[in-house]
């Protein structure tokens, strides 16, 4: 199973996106400066956007999903129950998983943004997908919510999971690191080696690099372990 982007180009005015890359099962973390093309990559990879040139090919991928950066873009139902139903998941179970037990009758827009994000991610991750694309899944989540989503992401390691994020502190165990730089996709490689090449690294990784320490991976436990190494 694999997702291939072959000489993909997309243009918006004078801005150009281009990407070559192959995504296989595992967790792929993609970061980059604001406006570097991360969401464009998500839309092209999910085939919601058609490239101006090149090909986006699915090999063995039967099901796919995309979680938008803004959870409010997903809302189609007037209650959480209806909303869960639109994803084909059990409303009660979705509410429990999102920490909103018993609130199936509530209007999604009465939730806080973080609660809505948790609910929308719960609905997506309760099903099995071959290709999962998560655009800023940690935005608006509290730290417990981020840890829970990391756990859910790691449970889907047999799928192709693209995690596009600016998150600075709580990240999933990552198999492969990518970076968008001014519209171009760069594959940095597997961890921990790729960490030294990461231009848009979060503050925690920068802090460790400045001390000459490379964490084994990006989970909170990995970063804590690396901090312990700072103290010998």
């Amino acid at each position: 199973m694999r997702l291939s982007l072959s000489a993909v180009e997309w243009h918006s005015g004078s801005w150009k996106f281009d990407a070559d890359g192959v995504f296989t099962p595992g967790i792929h973390l993609i970061s980059g400066r604001v406006g570097s093309g991360k969401t464009t990559l998500a839309l092209l990879s999910s085939r919601l956007l058609r490239p101006d040139a090149g090909r986006v090919e699915y090999d063995g991928i039967g099901s796919r999903t995309l979680s938008f950066q803004h959870p409010e873009y997903h809302v189609t139902g007037s209650t959480l129950g209806e909303e869960a139903g639109s994803y084909g998941v059990d409303p009660s179970a979705a509410c429990v998983r999102a920490g909103l037990a018993g609130r199936e009758g509530e209007d999604p827009f009465r939730l806080s943004r973080g609660e809505l994000k948790r609910f929308q991610l719960a609905c997506i991750l309760m099903r099995t997908w071959d290709l999962i694309i998560l655009d800023e899944p940690f935005s608006a989540l509290d730290c417990q919510g981020k840890l829970a989503i990391c756990q859910s992401i790691q449970e889907n390691r047999s799928s192709i999971v693209l995690v596009i994020t600016h998150e600075q502190h709580i990240l999933p165990r990552t198999d492969y690191l990518w970076e968008m730089r001014s519209g171009r996709l760069f594959g940095l490689g597997s961890l921990p080696g790729a960490l030294s090449l990461w231009e848009s690294a979060p503050g925690s990784v920068r802090m460790l690099r400045e001390q000459g320490i490379t964490p084994a991976n990006l989970t909170r436990d990995d970063l804590m372990e690396a901090v312990c190494m700072m103290h010998g």
Binding site: S112, D142, C143, S200, Q211, V227
Partner: protein, 223 residues
């Protein structure tokens, strides 16, 4: 200075809270009432009972610089230039001065040559940078920032923080889930189920929250 007394609004109940000049972080789990509190501080909501006073008077929308957590909700106009100019035009600032200040502001985030771009072509992070500039362009005394940082990468966040620090705002209240940012503020207010659970200097508040997942990693590193 902001003074809250006997405040009740929806699920939020705050008998007493003082926020002094400087930077205050409002933190707490999802649904704890952070956005509701910030909207009250910005004058976008009125208390059902009790009072919120900013420098002794009720906050008035438009006088406080405000950035919404939903990037799209900050947008009024279709073009970057109009979005930045709007707060100045609403104050009847002369057109020549508006143009000058818009160009200066745009240049600070590298948007000098993108003023004619339409807002719908910007990324989520670019949206919040423009929203921040719009909030700063009138040089407000009070800034209320609702978790805009979650849309920004590390370097853009450093840039945004420099703009805020250089804005001259006396009181900055920012909601965040980034505990490293909260740790750099003068004061932290922790909300829990619509009430203030802790308040104080970062050292005091994080000592109460340890060893939870929100304890700043950089503080563990300096031990």
């Amino acid at each position: 200075m902001i003074e809250i007394k006997d405040l009740r609004f929806r699920a939020l109940t705050i008998p007493s809270l003082m926020i002094f000049d400087g930077t205050t972080a409002v933190i707490g789990e999802n649904g704890s009432g952070k956005t509701t509190l910030l909207r009250l501080l910005a004058g976008l909501f009125r208390p059902e009972s009790g009072s919120v006073k900013v420098d002794g008077v009720n906050p008035v929308p438009g006088t406080t610089g405000f950035v919404d957590e939903y990037p799209d909700r900050n947008v009024l106009f279709s073009q970057v230039a109009d979005e930045l100019a709007a707060p100045l035009r609403f104050r009847h600032i002369p057109c020549s001065e508006v143009d000058c200040r818009v160009k200066e502001a745009a240049a600070t985030i590298g948007f000098g040559d993108r003023l004619n771009q339409t807002m719908d072509t910007l990324s989520g992070g670019e949206h919040v940078l423009i929203a921040l500039l719009s909030a700063l362009i009138t040089c407000p005394e009070t800034l209320v920032l609702d978790e805009f940082d979650s849309h920004l990468d590390y370097d853009s966040l450093q840039l945004a923080d420099a703009l805020i620090a250089g804005s001259g705002a006396r009181t900055v209240i920012r909601c965040t889930q980034n505990m490293e940012l909260a740790a750099r503020c003068d004061k932290i207010v922790v909300l829990h189920h619509g009430a203030v659970l802790h308040e104080g200097r970062p050292e005091e508040v994080f000592s109460e929250l340890e060893p939870g997942c929100c304890y700043p990693l950089s503080w563990r590193a300096r031990r």
